[in-house]
């Protein structure tokens, strides 16, 4: 018995899912872009504004203590949810993008030398490419692409072969947002570790879909973003080994990240606060805490099981569509499907599907190198979440047939 068995009740908790688009019921298949928010999250956010609004970590008055408790409780919840070794290892950031930049600026840049290499796969999101390019350009290091196969899977042997004494970091996406591929991150982390190379895993698309245990993975850095995890945008985390956080110099300066400031010299606070200068997105993180509570109540295993069924149904349905080419056909995959359709441009399909109430994303999905590899400028991407249904898949397929007729 899982709460997901009553999917109508679950869907009723997400106000947006009952919206009409152009007079048609919304079919929201853009979950890899951002997820819809349950009532529990929306209420936690407004409850903070109406009941506890105050700044954190600064004031000793009641509102300040309440806001701080709620904010720091979110850190405890997220730490438990992803299996962090301790709450101090959880640095709150604006999202995956800032998390990667933080590692680039504070961990790697100080020691990066000309000729050093940063190895990231060819299926990374721009957030796991561009920060490395920026510090590489500054220091004379190189960003090296790790190979992928025609099915959109990581070429594990080829990747391990590229690890060498110049490699300063290996970065890999846990689940590809463009291809749906679930990568063998444990294998890559272990291979890197065996060579003394730190690893960073981009879990943006993993944590919403199955149970992740960061301590068991034993990567040096795990990054994630809150808005794909049913929390507000502008929230995210870097989960890093304590030894790194202790050794890393601060990234941005300001209030909270210091112990004492003077013009003669400033001393810094302990992690995670050392990396959280200024006022954070308090409402957002309180929402993230509520999202994690909500997910745990529903159960990540039940979510994964339901999504596996939806994935298989969707996969079969797409297989029936003439002239549709799946981009990314990995065996281990999430319910994220990129495709192109003969004679119809991705953007036209997306706009016309929207006219039928179906929200999908079209474009490069912030993965230019992946698109280049597959020789397409853009794809349509349908990405499902547990709250989607078989009926929606049927509606999507019917809508797709209809809009193709229009464009033909």
């Amino acid at each position: 018995m899982s709460r997901l068995d009553d999917i109508a009740a679950i869907r009723a908790e997400f106000p947006q899912l009952s919206r009409l688009i152009h007079g048609k019921p919304l079919v929201y298949f853009d979950n890899a872009n951002t997820a819809q928010k349950p009532r529990a999250v929306i209420d936690a956010v407004s409850g903070y504004f109406t009941e506890h609004n105050a700044n954190v970590a600064r004031a000793v008055h009641t509102l300040g203590e309440e806001a701080t408790s709620l904010y720091e409780a979110a850190r405890d919840k997220l730490a438990r949810f992803v299996g962090a070794r301790s709450r101090e290892e959880v640095v709150f950031t604006r999202g995956t993008t800032e998390s990667v930049n933080l590692v680039a600026y504070s961990f790697l840049r100080p020691t990066l030398k000309p000729g050093d290499e940063i190895l990231v796969s060819r299926m990374e999101h721009h957030a796991n490419i561009v920060p490395w390019q920026l510090i590489a350009a500054e220091t004379g290091a190189r960003v090296v692409p790790a190979p992928i196969t025609d099915t959109g899977e990581l070429d594990v042997e080829g990747t391990v072969a590229l690890m060498n004494e110049r490699t300063q970091l290996v970065g890999l996406v846990h689940v590809s947002n463009a291809l749906g591929t679930i990568n063998p991150v444990a294998t890559i982390i272990a291979a890197a570790k065996a060579r003394g190379i730190p690893s960073l895993i981009d879990g943006s698309q993993a944590v919403p879909h199955f149970k992740v245990d960061v301590a068991a993975l034993d990567c040096d850095f795990y990054v994630l973003t809150g808005h794909k995890l049913f929390a507000p945008t502008g929230t995210g985390a870097l989960i890093a080994k304590r030894e790194h956080l202790d050794a890393m110099p601060p990234f941005m300066g300001g209030g909270e990240m210091i112990r004492r400031v003077s013009f003669e010299g400033t001393t810094f606070n302990d992690p995670p606060h050392k990396f959280e200068p200024g006022t954070p997105n308090i409402a957002g993180f309180i929402g993230l805490g509520a999202a994690v509570d909500w997910l745990e109540a529903v159960g990540m295993d039940a979510i994964a099981a339901r999504e596996a069924r939806l994935r298989d149904t969707m996969r079969a349905a797409l297989g029936e569509v003439d002239g549709l080419r799946l981009i990314g056909t990995a065996r281990e995959r999430a319910a994220v499907f990129s495709f192109v359709v003969e004679g119809a441009h991705a953007h036209d399909l997306a706009t016309l599907l929207d006219h039928e109430g179906v929200a999908v994303r079209s474009g490069h999905h912030c993965t230019h190198p992946t698109m280049q590899f597959f020789g397409v400028p853009a794809t349509v991407r349908a990405s499902l979440s547990f709250y989607n249904t078989e009926d929606e898949i049927a509606a999507f397929v019917a809508a797709l047939a209809k809009v193709r007729r229009m464009l033909a």
Binding site: H22, H345, H347, D348, T351, S362, H368, A378, L407
Partner: protein
């Protein structure tokens, strides 16, 4: 905020998309420009033959969406025999139309509905930007 679905992909636009005019490259082009749509990665190349300030011929090339293709088809037709300043003038009318301040002439009016699709306005502007890039003095 939400657009009327049927009007963006009007018969005019769909017809141009099915059978675009002036598709290809001018063999005797005097000017060439390219523009790119960051959103989808589409690239559009435009070739022009000018005599003095007069555009004698125009063609476009590239794989693009129906909006871009139809607009490029209309633009290349509209530029035949037009003064070079026409490109900029037309583009201004288009952006004014997207703000709701004007109606573009002739078939271009088919894109009025883009007012409600800000993310896709760039698709219709792409041919104009390729033409402007072609006409820009090169070092």
């Amino acid at each position: 905020m939400s657009a009327h679905p049927s009007t963006l992909y009007s018969e005019t636009v769909l017809a141009h998309n099915r059978a675009p005019r002036h598709c290809g490259c001018l063999a005797d082009a005097t000017h060439r420009g390219v523009a790119e749509n960051a959103l989808c990665g589409d690239q559009l190349a435009l070739t022009l033959r000018l005599r003095g300030d007069l555009i004698e011929a125009a063609m476009f090339d590239g794989e693009s969406c129906a909006i871009t293709t139809a607009c490029a088809s209309m633009l290349t037709a509209a530029l035949h025999g037009a003064p070079r300043a026409r490109v900029g003038e037309l583009r201004m009318v288009m952006t004014a139309m997207f703000r709701g301040d004007a109606t573009a002439p002739g078939e271009f009016a088919a894109f009025a509905e883009l007012r409600h699709h800000p993310a896709r306005q760039r698709c219709a502007l792409l041919p104009f930007d390729a033409a402007l890039s072609a006409l820009q003095p090169k070092e």
